[in-house]
Symmetry: C2
Subunit: 285 residues, 2 copies
């Protein structure tokens, strides 16, 4: 397992950790200020959300690289299915391609996909997963032509209804097998998979298809399942075991810290949050 004691070049900040830091959220830091704060701490990467980028993708990507920070990924494709997806297949695919274009303009190698929930008018996840496979398969060559990898991220089953019919790494790999595109893989997020006793086996199966590892913690008493994630060390996830198994499976990419925490971490000074993040990455991950 890689040693984060002195070298944080494999660590990336997902800007969600700072409340997205747009004019209307977080501390309102610009992408440039956030990039510099990452560079100052030795992080090798940063992951933005589309809403933070607007029409400045090329500029922000170049600015990050100039500061020595890679844009490690972009969050995220639109929901592809379910009640929160854009209305209709054509609208979904238009927004999907726009997200791929933004990732390419940022020179971000990975676009994360959160699938969306159960397609209205259907029951269970089977038909929704079939639609996801179909839509990702259609987008994959478009992404490949722009050097963008697509990472299917399974979410905790609590989101199964509205945000992600894809709930386990097993199902994500089954989707990859179905899609069979060379640039489609998976993202592993501690928050979503920490409970899964099948995880180690599936990580081995995933191997080179692991395109991302997201660090945070699951609080034993979670007050809000969307915006009450813990900083690493605060919760019950065995983060070190998950990172160890992921790296043993061959993953050598960035470890991305992503903490949605409306009532705690987002209320703190972003510089302090980044400092705590450094300490926790070193001591409990």
């Amino acid at each position: 397992m890689r040693d984060f004691g002195s070298d944080l070049s494999a660590v990336a900040l997902n800007t969600a950790t700072l409340g997205h830091n747009m004019a209307s959220a977080g501390a309102g830091w610009s992408p440039e200020r956030t990039i510099d704060a990452c560079a100052a701490r030795g992080f090798g990467g940063i992951v933005f959300w589309r809403r933070e980028i607007g029409d400045r993708a090329v500029q922000i990507g170049a600015r990050a690289r100039a500061a020595g920070v890679a844009v490690a990924g972009l969050c995220r494709a639109p929901f592809l299915v379910g009640p929160l997806a854009p209305p209709g297949r054509a609208a979904v695919m238009d927004e999907f391609r726009a997200a791929i274009d933004m990732a390419a303009a940022l020179e971000a190698p990975v676009l994360t996909i959160v699938t969306g929930g159960v397609e209205p008018g259907t029951k269970g996840v089977t038909e929704s997963l079939r639609l996801v496979a179909d839509r990702v398969a259609e987008a994959a060559p478009y992404a490949a032509a722009r050097d963008v990898w697509l990472a299917l991220e399974p979410l905790n089953p609590v989101y199964g209804g509205d945000r992600s019919c894809l709930t386990t790494l097993r199902d994500a790999l089954d989707l990859c097998d179905t899609i069979a595109a060379p640039n489609v893989g998976v993202a592993v997020d501690v928050y979503h998979v920490w409970w899964d006793t099948d995880l180690s086996r599936q990580l081995v199966r995933a191997g080179a298809r692991i395109l991302g590892l997201h660090l945070c913690d699951w609080l034993a008493e979670t007050r809000d399942v969307l915006l009450d994630r813990g900083m690493m060390g605060e919760g019950v996830a065995d983060i070190r075991a998950i990172r160890s198994a992921t790296e043993a499976a061959g993953y050598a990419g960035p470890c991305e810290v992503e903490i949605f925490s409306a009532e705690n971490w987002w209320k703190r000074d972003p510089a302090d949050v980044l400092d705590v993040m450094v300490e926790r990455v070193r001591t409990v991950c």
Copy 2:
């Protein structure tokens, strides 16, 4: 699959559906009034919670049978591990035995077990599941001597931290294999397993070890993961497919309707709730 069109003898009410109906909750119906309301609708069973029974277990059990309603089960054993368990192993086992005694006094064949979450001081679910296996194995002969079956109920992973380190039917059956007691099996609850693409396979594996099937629905937009369950037909679970697979695996026991719904169903007149339950059992289950 059994036909619920005219014969509801395989249907059971879990009294949680009526807000537990104690003096301080629900409409305040007595156990006797709830029993009679079930009998009037042709339900073959009722499942109580310990808090509703107090020291009247023998009396209430006899009253139910006299009305033609079986006490199909009792909810539930104490949390065996995790932050909400009684303090210390001795206290856990004392309360566990008391719950078994109450099930026996009711002549309820099944005591449901919700395991509890991650044991304080540990990370991940491995050690907690080991403790659960140890404690259930110790209690199993005590229960067998009183003709009580123990049903391990996996809960949705959203409860993994505090309420249930046991999150999948696969893990529940692995626990059964470890415990290897003839009176230990599993309970399958639509709310907790609807998202699991491995369910059909595990139901076949479970076979005669399926001791309960709980019906409700998962609302696509769930506002509160503890107390915002849907009535069958309101949500995205494929209830009919789950019941069909469960019965195909050999299950012939009660189908227990269990709906925690503080802001909707618990605010309605219990008689109306029971009438809707009848209609939904007939049409969407």
